[in-house]
């Protein structure tokens, strides 16, 4: 090995040069047929449906036949009375869940990287809710959050607090679902933060201690800035999740009471249910554009900061 690297045979040199030349021309090391299976799957399952959905968003579609109606669906979609409420709720939901996940995830990660007993067990416990089915979690919490017979309000009543009507009070419904979403998703944020914190070299903490830094200072000046890549990942993942969230909301409130906890995804889903296929496809195109318009610049911003560091 060493010998070969030190003095490569002339033939090998020639071959490598030829290979590099081919690379530069953009030639791939695989024959074309090698790509075929993946290309067929990709085209049939992703490319065609994506373009088909863009096409059908311009039609009135009954699944069997369609009429081309130009931008009417988009006009109709933006006139949808529930849409404004849905949009506002989507942003509130995305912001609340991702803020709480960042804050709680960070705190829990600091706790779980410290020297506490049963650390491995506690780390896995915080991750368990992530593995549960959203629908199951939704149904269980609907029962727990029942205003009169639910366990949560009974527990609060035992200590003399009158709990709110969680899922059926218009003012609380969306926040209640967001809290359950945080409970379910904070495990993933914590695990990402644990990885981020563990990778910070111990020398920084030791040096800071020598200089007499308090633990609060250590947290704000070492852990927080050096865990920035983890923060970026958590924010982006939870914001995408929050913006297109649907399953938990549908399982718990179906957008109700009335329209008070509707998000864009549930507005679109209800349009599918009603058989307005073209209209709801237009809604999905809009949702796709909104998520892209938020995530793309945010991701560029967060990643640029990371490089500058």
């Amino acid at each position: 090995m060493t010998l070969k690297t030190a003095a490569p045979a002339p033939a090998a040199v020639a071959r490598r040069a030829e290979h590099q030349a081919r690379r530069r021309k953009g030639k791939s090391p695989y024959p074309y047929w090698f790509y075929l299976p993946a290309a067929v799957v990709y085209t049939a399952l992703f490319l065609v449906p994506t373009f088909a959905s863009f096409f059908f968003s311009f039609t009135r579609w009954t699944l069997t036949d369609f009429t081309f109606i130009g931008l009417d669906n988009f006009v109709q979609f933006f006139q949808e009375p529930a849409l404004l409420k849905g949009l506002t709720n989507t942003f509130i939901y995305g912001a609340v869940t991702s803020t709480l996940k960042v804050a709680l995830g960070m705190l829990l990660a600091v706790l779980l990287t410290s020297r506490i007993i049963a650390r491995g067990y506690l780390r896995s416990v915080i991750f368990f809710p992530v593995l549960l089915s959203s629908i199951g979690v939704g149904i269980v919490f609907t029962v727990l959050m029942d205003p009169s017979k639910g366990m949560i309000n009974e527990a609060l009543a035992a200590v003399g607090i009158e709990g709110p009507a969680w899922l059926v009070d218009p003012a609380w419904a969306l926040l209640s679902v967001a809290m359950v979403d945080v409970w379910k998703g904070v495990g993933l944020a914590t695990v990402i933060y644990i990885a981020g914190i563990v990778s910070i070299p111990q020398e920084y903490f030791e040096a800071a201690k020598m200089d007499g830094a308090s633990s609060v200072k250590c947290f704000f000046n070492i852990t927080l800035p050096l865990a920035r890549p983890a923060t970026a990942t958590v924010i982006i993942l939870s914001l995408i999740g929050g913006l297109r969230s649907f399953d938990l909301i549908w399982a718990m409130t179906k957008g109700g009471p009335g329209f008070t906890s509707d998000v864009i995804a549930s507005v679109i889903f209800k349009q599918y249910q009603a058989g307005f296929y073209g209209l709801s496809t237009a809604g999905n195109v809009v949702l796709f554009l909104i998520v892209t318009a938020i995530i793309l610049p945010l991701s560029m911003f967060l990643n640029r900061k990371e490089v500058e560091q």
Partner: protein
């Protein structure tokens, strides 16, 4: 990206389901014809509620006894939107069962009857079908189906024991209804049961009031279809929303109306915890199963309007049984349709699940032991001037969001006036999707 894929995955799922359904359908059909000789197997697609499956199996059995060389295989599908999709997909791929049950009225128009179904207008057995049923399975000039199941009502189910104890009589006007309700409240019983966790149950104040609307402005349904009448601007039509608002403001609902479910509502009614429940009479078979000894404590009266002399019942017509053009066993399918539209057909349904309302087939009698609530309902069915089909049977225009809107009215989130206007906007989408004249 993930979001943009969501729709194609959805349609893929529909496709795969359709394919799976189609394959099983094929297998059933070929299995039957492979039976050889004279005997044939035909298939019948019905929804999967226990009530439907029970009577469907009984009809199939009795039909086979009368026609030994034709076997009917009952297939099931889910209810609601998912079931609608399966019916539409199977029809458009030409893989529908030999017969299928589906709603009459506005949903019937959404499966393109003229394109997909075999007209049966001139079949001799159509003479048995009640004239009041034919319009709701008619598209263009042709009739396409026979009724299966019984007529139902959207009305107030009430606990007779509570009424007796408080010495109340059945209200004929809205103000009598409110007066009764206040007395019931004073007695410590929830006067009006509302169950908004099961959202569809919130619509009855509006949908069940339609007979009163039809009595006050007879042309409403036609004008409504033609985009000329609106809930918000018609003084009779908006009453349903206003009544719900008024009852909510007066605090006449059960305390847990926002979180209660349909099943809990029936329990309250049966136990006398609540006195009056505006609901569909489809609830009666469920009460029969869950609280058999309480069934005859339950009575029924139409949702009261302004005028006692015009007090009428809003009627829900049964679904139809249709034959798709794709069937290869047309003769046998028609024979089966004829059986359903005959006294023998009604009798096997009564034998299986009891009678929960009048049949829409001539010559079908109800047994003497029908539940009290059904007895209360019959006089209205017998006199045409005292009932009207619900709006969904008279007009294809029905908005999908009414149940959310009425939940908002009943919860005090939205005013009746606003709600009616919002519902008018909601139906526009449906009318446009159906390409109705006057809406585009």
């Amino acid at each position: 990206m993930t979001t943009s894929r969501r729709r194609p995955w959805g349609s893929l799922t529909v496709g795969v389901t359709a394919l799976a359904v189609a394959l099983t359908g094929c297998a059933g059909g070929s299995g039957g014809s492979a039976g050889g000789g004279e005997s044939k197997t035909i298939t019948w697609l019905v929804d999967n509620t226990e009530n439907t499956v029970t009577y469907a199996e009984q009809i199939a059995k009795d039909f086979n006894a009368a026609n030994p060389n034709i076997t009917v295989e009952v297939e099931t599908r889910p209810q609601g939107g998912e079931g609608d999709n399966i019916v539409k997909t199977r029809l458009s791929t030409g893989d529908m069962a030999d017969l299928f049950s589906y709603n009459s009225g506005s949903l019937f128009h959404q499966i393109s009857p003229e394109q997909n179904l075999v007209p049966v207008t001139s079949e001799p057995y159509m003479a048995n079908v009640s004239e009041s049923f034919k319009p709701v399975v008619t598209a263009g000039k042709e009739v396409y189906g026979v009724p299966v199941g019984t007529g139902n009502a959207g009305a107030v189910l009430y606990n007779k024991k509570v009424y007796e104890k408080l010495g109340l009589s059945v209200p004929k006007t809205w103000s009598e209804f409110m007066a009764n309700s206040r007395k019931i409240k004073d007695a410590g019983i929830a006067p009006i049961i509302q169950t908004y966790q099961t959202t569809w149950t919130s619509q009855l104040f509006v949908l069940g009031d339609f007979a009163n609307v039809a009595a006050a402005s007879p042309g409403f349904a036609t004008d409504y279809t033609a985009n000329k009448a609106k809930y918000a601007t018609d003084s009779a039509a908006i009453k349903g929303f206003e009544h719900q608002e008024e009852a909510a403001k007066a605090g006449l609902f059960n305390e847990d109306f926002a979180s209660a479910t349909y099943a809990q509502g029936l329990e309250k009614l049966a136990n006398g915890e609540g006195a009056q429940y505006p609901i569909l009479s489809f609830a009666l078979p469920e009460i029969k199963v869950t609280f058999p000894d309480k069934l005859n404590d339950i009575g029924l009266f139409p949702l009261p309007g302004e005028d006692a002399s015009k007090n009428a019942l809003t009627v829900w017509l049964p679904g139809g049984v249709y034959i798709p053009k794709s069937t290869k066993n047309l003769e046998e399918a028609k024979k089966f349709q004829a059986f359903i539209a005959s006294k023998a057909g009604c009798d096997s349904q009564t034998k299986a699940v009891g009678a929960n309302g009048p049949y829409l087939v001539k010559g079908c009698d109800l047994p003497a032991d029908v539940p009290t609530a059904v007895k209360d309902m019959l006089p209205y069915f017998e006199d045409e001037s005292r009932n009207s089909p619900a709006l969904e049977y008279l007009s294809p225009v029905k908005g999908p969001a009414l149940e959310q809107i009425t939940v908002e009215v009943g919860s005090g989130i939205r005013s009746a006036k606003d709600a009616a206007a919002l519902y008018d906007e909601d139906v526009t989408k449906q009318a446009k999707q159906l390409n109705l004249p006057g809406w585009n």
